[in-house]
């Protein structure tokens, strides 16, 4: 029988492309024989805009990169600037930064895992992680006045000290969160359908992952123990005791497992930081007009989605000459075209969901 392939345009308006990713699939029945990923539907030209902003004005723009973990994006930029200007920041600010960054890592992974399971068809499974995320977002809203675009960090410290409401809310979260983890493992881990849908689907070898520049949980799921917090600690991350979970074969199931374990490790870091939280100021002495010396600095941090790098070139004026972000989601999705081949449509959805990318970061 003579058959022919056909083209299916998955996105930019499709519920499972997490925004406006567009994948043009060449299909033979249900099986993918070719794919081309298109990006750029959410491009706002952030890097170009930043060339016309002063250094402190850059911070709110970073919130809009990976909008599910705004604090972590704040962090990479302010740390780059501190590196450039050799600013020592107060201990208390360092601890609060770590706590918030790890809280947002949990919040981001809650979205990643929840949406992942939802895209596999279990709609209820998105609600339980979102409840936990909502607690974190409420905490952050009371702290910074905003649920997702915080603009809370400053070059040299933080905008202000933590609010009096923050501690009771964090206490409550620390008590309630382990129970959620336990329940969710019971709900998902051994589910036959979940295993059938994710085991050996979208398998990536360690070599291939490295060659495509994968980072974050997607790289660690392939068995590569790479975490900037361990290999090249920034801030005060060398003071905390935590593990770097890795997967075995880099399939969709491993990506779920690694994220779940990472959430637990982040929870451990939060508890340690919270226990050791020192008193003192949260802002270092920073000149009113920030005018870094001529030169360039690259700095990278471990974001929920992977390694977020920030490259700033200064020409000695109050405005940066060039700001560039190495956005992990952008590099992560570059592997899609290769691993989609040979999978069914349902698998492609599973792979898309398991990568947990954010289009705000892909397109910048």
């Amino acid at each position: 029988m003579k058959t022919q392939t056909y083209t299916l345009n998955l996105g930019p308006q499709h519920p499972s492309t997490h925004g406006v990713l567009r994948v043009v699939l060449e299909l033979d029945g249900e099986t993918c024989v070719g794919s081309k990923t298109h990006v750029g539907y959410l491009h706002r030209g952030i890097e170009k805009i930043l060339e016309d902003r002063t250094y402190p004005q850059v911070i709110p723009y970073t919130d809009r990169l990976d909008y599910l973990a705004g604090i972590n994006n704040n962090l990479v930029y302010v740390q780059t600037m501190e590196k450039m200007m050799n600013i020592e920041i107060p201990e208390r600010a360092e601890y609060i930064r770590v706590m918030l960054a790890e809280l947002m890592r949990i919040a981001s992974h809650m979205v990643g895992i929840g949406i992942y399971i939802m895209d596999l068809g279990a709609i209820s499974a998105v609600f339980y992680p979102f409840i936990e995320r909502e607690k974190i977002l409420d905490m952050m809203a009371h702290l910074s006045g905003s649920r997702m675009t915080f603009n809370y960090m400053r070059i040299g410290g933080l905008a202000h000290d933590i609010h009096s409401d923050f501690k009771p809310e964090l206490d409550k979260f620390i008590v309630e969160f382990p129970r959620f983890i336990e329940d969710y493992h019971r709900l998902i881990d051994d589910n036959e359908i979940f295993i059938a849908r994710t085991k050996n689907v979208g398998t990536i070898t360690a070599e291939k992952a490295k060659s495509y520049g994968l980072t974050g949980p997607n790289l660690r799921a392939c068995g590569v123990k790479h975490d900037i917090r361990k290999t090249n600690p920034y801030g005060i991350y060398n003071r905390f005791d935590f593990e770097v979970p890795v997967g075995e074969i880099g399939d969709c199931y491993d990506r779920y497992v690694v994220r779940m374990k990472e959430v637990e490790e982040s929870f451990k870091i939060i508890q340690q930081a919270y226990k050791e939280l020192p008193d003192g100021p949260v802002m270092a002495k920073v000149p009113k007009l920030i005018k870094p010396p001529i030169g360039d600095v690259y700095h990278q941090t471990e974001n929920p989605k992977g390694v977020l790098g920030c490259y700033v070139v200064s020409d000695g004026t109050p405005k940066p000459s060039r700001v560039h972000f190495r956005r992990p989601s952008f590099n992560n999705i570059s592997i899609f075209d290769e691993i989609f081949i040979g999978h069914k449509i349902a698998d492609i959805i599973a792979i898309l969901a398991s990568f947990d990318f954010v289009l705000g970061e892909v397109d910048a």
Binding site: Y6, L8, H14, P15, S16, E30, I117, M118, D119, L120, G121, A122, I123, S124, A125, F127, Y128, I131, N191, I193, F194, A196, R197, K344, I345, A346, D347, I349
Partner: protein, 349 residues
């Protein structure tokens, strides 16, 4: 008690006698009764759909730690009515390039097998519109017709997602028809009748769910697949095919598909209750009350499944159907046959 048990039977009798007393010939009396039955069935069908649309949303809400619809009317119970009005007043969109006639007829045809199937369901003692001798056979025959309108909808929409959904629907419904039939066949072997009232009466001592537990499980799985509900909602596949066969449907045409889905689920719940859970039999309460209680519980069970499990993949669906359910149901029929033979004839030595 006896009066309430047979209240609907008495009403039907009263109408029949009135028609006869008015001087109609027997043929016209039968025609009149047919209309009455049809109206009653459509009433049950619509009410059930209206109720269960809301009930599913409520139950899903409870599962997901949220209240569900709770604004309109007492505790949100008028929500479906408001939704229906909204859908009725929406613009009717036919995509360009669609096969207009097929696209339009699909949501109408989807109701035909539904109404046909309800004609033989015994809602209570003596409360079946038509008590066919071939009840089960008829049910299976008419419910399998629902594949055709779904395929019409998917084909007529001129959309690749819809076409994919239609292909999945046909493959799935044809594959799962077989284990469904075999699961019911075990019960038929035991009772020796295809008549639904007879099957219900045979369960006066013990429900068939205890004699045929494997068949009941196969029935639940195959029925979920037949009605295209999660984890077998591949034709719809919200996160994969956007809405599959329903992608290009909006307004009242979509609502008809939606209502038919709930009616069909009501029917499979009713069949499950009739064949495996003792039908309308039960103590104290009138028989039709028992029937609706049991159907409601089985329906809620289907809702619970839907809101808990992820969706399975199309090749896994086929493997599961052909390599597991079909052999298992065949084995079940075989063992039941041996059991029945030994029960009636002894071991013969």
């Amino acid at each position: 008690m006896e009066f309430f048990n047979k209240i609907f039977v008495y009403i039907a009798q009263f109408i029949r006698e009135t028609l006869a007393a008015l001087g109609f010939t027997p043929v016209w009396v039968e025609m009149g009764m047919g209309t009455v039955y049809l109206v009653a069935i459509l009433g049950v069908c619509t009410l059930a759909a209206l109720f269960y649309v809301l009930w599913e949303r409520k139950l899903a809400g409870y599962i997901q730690y949220r209240p569900g619809p709770n604004r309109l009317g007492p505790n949100g119970w008028f929500q479906t009515v408001a939704d229906a009005i909204k859908l009725l007043t929406k613009e009717d969109i036919v995509p360009c390039g669609a096969d207009k006639a097929v696209h339009l007829l699909a949501p109408v045809f989807i109701f035909v097998p539904t109404v046909l199937a309800l004609a033989v369901v015994p809602f209570g003692e003596g409360m079946a519109a038509i008590d066919l001798d071939l009840g089960i056979f008829y049910l299976i025959a008419v419910t399998s017709l629902s594949t055709i309108p779904i395929f019409m909808g998917g084909w007529g929409s001129n959309n690749k997602y819809s076409l994919l959904g239609a292909m999945r629907a046909v493959a799935q419904m044809v594959s799962y028809e077989i284990p469904l039939v075999f699961s019911l066949l075990g019960v038929v072997l035991i009772t020796g009748t295809l008549q639904l009232q007879g099957i219900v009466e045979a369960q006066s001592k013990v429900w068939f769910v205890f004699l045929q537990p494997i068949a009941f499980l196969i029935f639940i799985i195959a029925a979920t697949a037949e009605t295209n509900r999660a984890p077998f909602d591949l034709p719809e596949g919200e996160s994969e095919l956007t809405a599959g066969i329903y992608t290009e449907y909006s307004g009242m045409k979509w609502a008809l598909f939606f209502l038919a889905e709930y009616c069909n689920l009501f029917i499979v719940s009713a069949i499950g209750v009739t064949v495996f859970l003792g039908g309308w039999q039960g103590p104290f309460l009138p028989s039709w009350v028992w029937f609706f209680i049991k159907t409601h519980l089985l329906f809620s069970f289907f809702i619970w499944i839907r809101w808990t499990f992820p969706r399975i993949r199309v090749d896994q669906l086929m493997n599961f159907g052909w390599k597991f359910l079909v052999p298992l149901s065949l084995a079940n029929v075989f063992i039941t046959g041996i059991g029945v033979y030994i029960y009636y004839n002894g071991l013969g030595w």
